[in-house]
Symmetry: D2
Subunit: 140 residues, 4 copies
């Protein structure tokens, strides 16, 4: 599974295709084994009490998996999530960005499976884990 | 599992506790068998092409399950999602609100399990299904 | 989604294709809305203490979903499970068979999604819930 | 999370508590980061065509997670699975045992979360991945 889009290419793609959310995220690293994305945590992501909301963590995992697949199949693909399973394990630390660390487990002709661990920036224990299946559109 | 908060009480609770998101949702019906919540779909929920985003559907399911649990245990509880599994099955219809129809399968001392089907308003086939586990805080 | 295999046809198919397990199960009812399968609980399904084991409940849910898909696409298909999510909610009653009640939520060209609730025979509350995705083989 | 039961202790525990299944499995390695269990694949685990069945893979993952938790909390505990999510990604190789490699992500007071990757013995790519939540019984 060669990498065909690096972190810069992915960030540019997000900015042009998803301008409304791209400013919240930054792909920080891509290689054959791992992709890392940062969520720049802001007011919109917080629950009362200052914790990052579950849906914001889900959105980060989804974006990380999406980028990890695009990194391998290129920017034209219209991949969509078909299944996700997520465990919320710890409260994110207040005032810290979140980092998703994503690994692609299978990149098939029709389906891709990946998993992500989510950490508070600098934290040792994962806040959440997520596995996702994406449907890969047929090549034209 | 008696209902201790009706739709009005839940909507008031959301407005006071989650003012930043409450305007997007409305609990439309609560009884012992079902709870229904509407997501008023707006620009912020859309992906390019006009489809409601996966994270927005996840957030709707999460809110529906949360409300279904509060309807049974009352407004003081600090319940949190511990696990969610979601299947995205069909593209939501453009320009339609989404309706989550939620059913509580178990309300234990420590854990609650519920499932939700998500429909485009007026649609016959579900757009997504979701099951969630919530951790119930111990009574004081 | 017309039904092309009824309960008798499914039971015969199981007997001829999966003789080693078919004796444990019986498809009891199939229609457009529901399929019901019984697990005849025996020693091999029990954990110490007399409870049906988790893997036996998983196997029942898997078989129910498989039959519900075959009921709609016919006996030739080589459908395989790609994803399953299961919640174990209550202890099955000792000495009772288990009933899986399965509903197909989507039958696409490539993927099918179904869910099953598992009950102790005669019980009112579900023992477990399961959702599964099956990959449908391409038509020849 | 100190290890309080090593591989030998776990294998002895399985033999005495689950004599009907213990012969199929062997815990091969336990340390703070990983636990590995082998499923000795036999006729009973196969589907027509010689592939290991989905429920057999589920049972292996379940046993691996159970052992990984016992390795940390000791043999007396009556932990039970509350949730599992599994992705079946590749066909196991015919005639090979399966290896589950399990990692504990959280060991809380009430819930434990772990994940397992399943490989055909000697294979480089995982056959399946599974994440599970166990409920930990209160200390007496």
């Amino acid at each position: 599974m060669d990498i065909v889009m690096d972190a810069d290419a992915l960030n540019e793609f997000l900015s042009s295709e998803f301008p409304q959310v791209a400013a919240e995220y930054r792909v920080e690293r891509v290689d054959r084994s791992r992709l890392m994305v940062r969520l720049k945590v802001g007011e919109a992501h917080l629950r009362p009490g200052g914790t990052v909301s579950g849906p914001s963590i889900f959105a980060l995992a989804d974006l990380a998996v999406y980028c990890a697949i695009l990194a391998r199949i290129g920017p034209v693909a219209l991949a969509v999530t078909t299944n996700a399973s997520i465990d919320f394990m710890r409260k994110p630390e207040a005032g810290k960005d979140l980092i998703a660390e994503c690994r692609v487990l299978k990149l098939g002709r029709v389906l891709a499976v990946a998993e992500a661990l989510i950490y508070s920036k600098g934290g040792a224990e994962p806040v959440a884990r997520c596995s996702m299946t994406y449907s890969i559109p047929p090549k034209r």
